[in-house]
Structure formats: structure tokens, C-alpha cells
Assembly symmetry: C2
Amino acid sequence: MSEPRKLEVLRAIVEDYVHSREPVGSKALVERHHLGVSSATIRNDMAVLEEEGLIAAPHTSAGRIPTDKGYRLFVDRISQVKPLSAAERRAIHSLLEGPDDVDDILERTVRLLSQLTNQVAVVQYPQSNRALVRHVEFVLLAPKQVLVVLIADTGSVGQKVIDAGTDVGNEALMLLRSRFLGSIAGTQLALLPQVLPSVVALCPPELRGLAQTLAHGLQALSDTSREERILMAGTANLARSNVDFPLSIGPVLEALEEQVVMLRLLSDMGDDPRGVTVSIGRENPYDGLAEASVVATGYGSGAKVGILGPTRMDYPTTMAAVRAVARYLSRILGG
Amino acid sequence: MSEPRKLEVLRAIVEDYVHSREPVGSKALVERHHLGVSSATIRNDMAVLEEEGLIAAPHTSAGRIPTDKGYRLFVDRISQVKPLSAAERRAIHSLLEGPDDVDDILERTVRLLSQLTNQVAVVQYPQSNRALVRHVEFVLLAPKQVLVVLIADTGSVGQKVIDAGTDVGNEALMLLRSRFLGSIAGTQLALLPQVLPSVVALCPPELRGLAQTLAHGLQALSDTSREERILMAGTANLARSNVDFPLSIGPVLEALEEQVVMLRLLSDMGDDPRGVTVSIGRENPYDGLAEASVVATGYGSGAKVGILGPTRMDYPTTMAAVRAVARYLSRILGG
DNA sequence: GGTTAGCACTTGGGCATGTTGAGTGCTAAG
DNA sequence: CTTAGCACTCAACATGCCCAAGTGCTAACC
């Protein structure tokens, strides 16, 4: 049998199945797609495809459905990203308007993406590895409590309440503030651990304890600002798309709630510079997502955007949406 | 028939149904609860209860299940909050430890509450109506972009990037900062709209435009800091508790994702000062929650904590958990 | 009057059985 | 390599049956 036709059959099966949610049989195939051959021929091809583990039959006399491996081949070799519709393009464009606030933009992005794809959309906060310290603020909340604020030039703000252990004077705090500020303004957040100790060392001895505590706070802030957070939207789509198909939604919700899981998932996916990356079904490192696929890509300088949905999803369209959104995001945030 | 026994029967029905998830019949009732009467008598009582709309039969020859109204009566007149187990008490206590960071505490609270109740837990950020301005910071991000940071004495930090429209000098910004700071430090956030205009008016004419823009930003921040946000956890519990009971999970997820909906829901619930408030099934103002109940209460100075779950839930235990968590939360945050 | 036993009646769920139709695999011919 | 034809399989659906659980009612009982 011809190799190209085999792929064509796989493509047809995937497309039909994604569309109808039902196992697709040889006869229906030849009717819907004008392949120039008869159903018997298709049957033979399908037998081969099944042999190769690309499709499977739920039971003896049912149609075939694609396996994870089948989707994989479909995504890698067959599907070409569909162009977006004008309306979709317009929706994305309208993202460009409005305030430049990072939180705002990400929130709208993730909403848009979930509506565009009808899946759960996920976006990782921009990594601030290269972010520079813009400002430091210490605020006395209570005699022993100091609010430490760290502002990066990216506009991201980190805050943390720390317990000084002993009473803190406001003047001392102001003094330390200008010391710290003078020494670390303009420094990369990532370099703080190396810089901070010397700042502490240069402080007057009587303030060194406090300085040490504050330095710890700052460092923790730079850590958590790099420990990326995740924003998501569209979890209700999970319920919708599985209304008559029991993808067990519980484990997926669990995974989504564990930011750590999602972060690992996204960063494990590598960053194919040419386009979006897809992780299908059991390819996912997390068991709860065995029936789910993740479509993601990088934006800006290293963070990820993507969606999560059932393995049975419209990959070409979804991939196009993710890619387009990521591009616009990069543009807006000046990645 | 005796009024007390009627209530007793309702209580028994609710408890059994919550436990077994199955309609409960007269015979099973007399066996499980040692009411001193026969099943025939119970049948008579049940007929009355049904007449009053407190219970209903899914079909002619099935047991009865409580209606929303039945749950309502159960909650209002019958159930007494169960004491928490030692383990639960311990879990809540351990909340007391750890950093005093508001975000941290709320996050752990909401996780704990969702685990305690096996429901979706929701917590509203503390209302900062009475919060005072602690600090103001303007940071120049780009020639025309200013990051406005507003820090309240509660430790909550608001930030916002604003577009100045025209190039901004750093010196001017610093000047304005000290002006603003001097005028509004210690002011209630809620009073900012009244105070800010006079600050702007007192600025040198050439800076007035910028001052106006900054004032707008600050006011927006105080608004959004009062426009309460919501934190939640345990959405996966929705899927779990309905594994064999089709509460349509989709609309509920939608509601949860719309912070506005949840905020209205919580604030509409009023604040019974004696304890927790319960909103059952169709009592909820939002249609998607017609099969769900919300158990919530206030903490600190006016914000709400609570859970959301299927109407068929263990109200006494849940109410106890919510109440206990709210109390500890009040204590920690010094409400 | 409230309570109870007894009984006829309803009905969903389980089960065994039959039927249908979509779909496959194989074989033999083109 | 393709195709027509055919026997075979099996989920899904339907039908009929029975059973158990549960109800409502009536008449007797305390």
C-alpha cells in the first residue's frame, strides 16, 4: 500500500474522530473524504495502521480511534496549522489595546486563549531572570514587623512581611533602605544572592542583624519572583467538552490546582523554537493527565503559554491559536 | 402526629441521605435510627413532610430525599454544629504558625478548609476599607511609563503601570512622590478620592498634569484594593463528590471562575453575627448554582470565608469547620 | 387520636433473550 | 494492489419478565 495514502487515512480518521467523537469506520471514511479507493482497501490500510499502533478499536466490531501515537504522528507529520479566522485575529489584536500592566495583560490573554480554543488556558508569568532591581522599600507595619517590597524594572512587584524579632526603629530602617538601594539598584535579581552579603557586611555593626534579616527577605522575594506563577482560565471548558465523554475530570483539576505540577509540565516540554510543542496523553509526565494533551509554546524571554484539553482535540486549530497568542504576547511585552 | 418527631424524622432522612446518597425509605429509617415507632407511622409522617414540601420522592415507589426547603429547615432548626475532631483542630492550629504574610495565610487557609470539608473553599481578601495609606512609590519604568505602588498598613500592596502620555523626569517624580506621601500618608484608603484633588491642586502648575495622572492611578489602586479578590482551592473536590451523581459541574466551575459572581454571592449572603450563613440550592442568586450550597461566614472586619458544595452535604460538620477556620483567621489577622 | 399491622399497588433496576446494524477480516477474483 | 462479497463479531437497543423496595390506604388496636 502507498505510504502517502496511509498517512492520508490516518489524517482522515483523526479529523473525523475529533469532529464526531465516535469511532470511525472504513465505510464512513470513504464517503466523507473522497479518497479514490473502496472501503475494503481502507480496511486493509487500517489493519496496518492498527498493527503499527497508530489507531485502535475499542471493541471488535467498532470503528477505529487514534491512539496517542497516532495523534503524535498526526501532529508531527501531517497537520499543518490552520490559519485563524478574521474574527479570531481581531480578538487577538484587541489584546494590544488597554493598559500595559503585566497582570492585566496576562489575565486577558488567558481568557482569550481559553475562549479561542475552548480549552483550559494556562500562562506562566514572565521569567524575571534578567530583570533588574528597580526599587526597594521597607515599611514598618508594627514594631517588629517589616514589609519588604522589591520592584523590578519589568514592573513586577514582590512583597513580603518579615518578622524582625526585635523592635525596629524607623530611622534605622530608612538608613538601611538607602544602603540597600544604593548597592543593588540595577542589579539582576538572579545575582542578589551574591551581592547581598557584601551589603550586609558594610552595614554598621549594630544594624547588621536587622540588615541580615532584610537581606534574607529580599532574597526570598527574588526567589519567589523567579519561582514562576501560573494563571489559568476556562476550567469550565473541561466539563463542557466532556459532557458525554468521561475523561475523568478530577485528576485534571487536581493537576491544574497544583501550580508546581503545571510549572514542571510546561518547562519539561522544551521549547521548540520553530513553533508550538505538543504533549499527548501518556506522554505527559503526570498520571492524572493521561487522557489530556498540552499544547504550549514559549513567549517573551522563556515563559510559556498554552492550553490543556482532552487528547481528542482539534490540534491544527488549537496550535494556530496558541502560536498566534504567543506571538502577540511577545510583541506586547517586548520579549 | 407530634411535632418533635416530625423534625426528628426529617433530620434522620437528611442524615441518611447525605451519608448514603440514596433515597431513604420508611423501613430503613426505623432500622437505622431507633425511633420508637413502626415504619407505618413514619410513612404517615413522611406524607405530611412531603405535603409541606420538605421532602420529595424521585418516583412513585422510591424513598424520599430532602428538598432545598427541607435542608433549610434542617440547617435552621435541627442541626447543631458538630465539634471538630482533635486532628482537625490540630490542623487549624498549625495555621497559627508560619509567616504573617496575608497572601500566605489566606492561601493556606483555603487549602486547609477545602481538605477539611472536601469541598471547594473560597476566601475573600480582607476588606481594606479602614486601611490606611502607609506608603506611596512612583517608579519610572520607561520614559513615559510610571509604576505606581500603594502600600497599606495592613501589608497589602497594590501596583499599577500607568501611561504618563508625556516624558517624565525622575526628579519631578520624586518631588511628586514626597508631596503625595506627605499629604496622604495615614489617610484611609476610602477617603483618597476626597483628599487627592487638593494634593494635585497644590502642585506646581507645570507638574499638575502628571500629578493628575498619578492621582488617578492611586485612586484606581485604592478602588481595586477594595474591589475584593477571591482565592479558592479544592475545585477537584467537585469532581470527586459527584463521581456517581451528576451535579452538572460545568456551570459551577463557570461561577467559580467569575470572581464577580462569587463576590456578589458572598456579600449577598449577609453576615449572621451568631454564626455561619448557609445558602441552599435555588436560594442561590446564580442559576448555575441551583444544585449547590454555600456555607460562609465573615472573619476579621467584614470579609468572608466559606465553602461551596453539592446541596447534599454534611452541613453540621461543614458549618463547624467553616466557623472554626473563620475564628482562627480572625485571630491571626487581628480582625 | 395516634399507632400499627396488613395488603394491594406502583415502579425502577436487574437479567435473560432476541434483534439489528455497523464494522471487521478474509478470500478469491479482477 | 485493489475490490467485491461474505461470514462473523459485538455493542447498542429493545422487549419481556420478575423482584424488591417502597408507598398509600384501611381497618383494627390501645
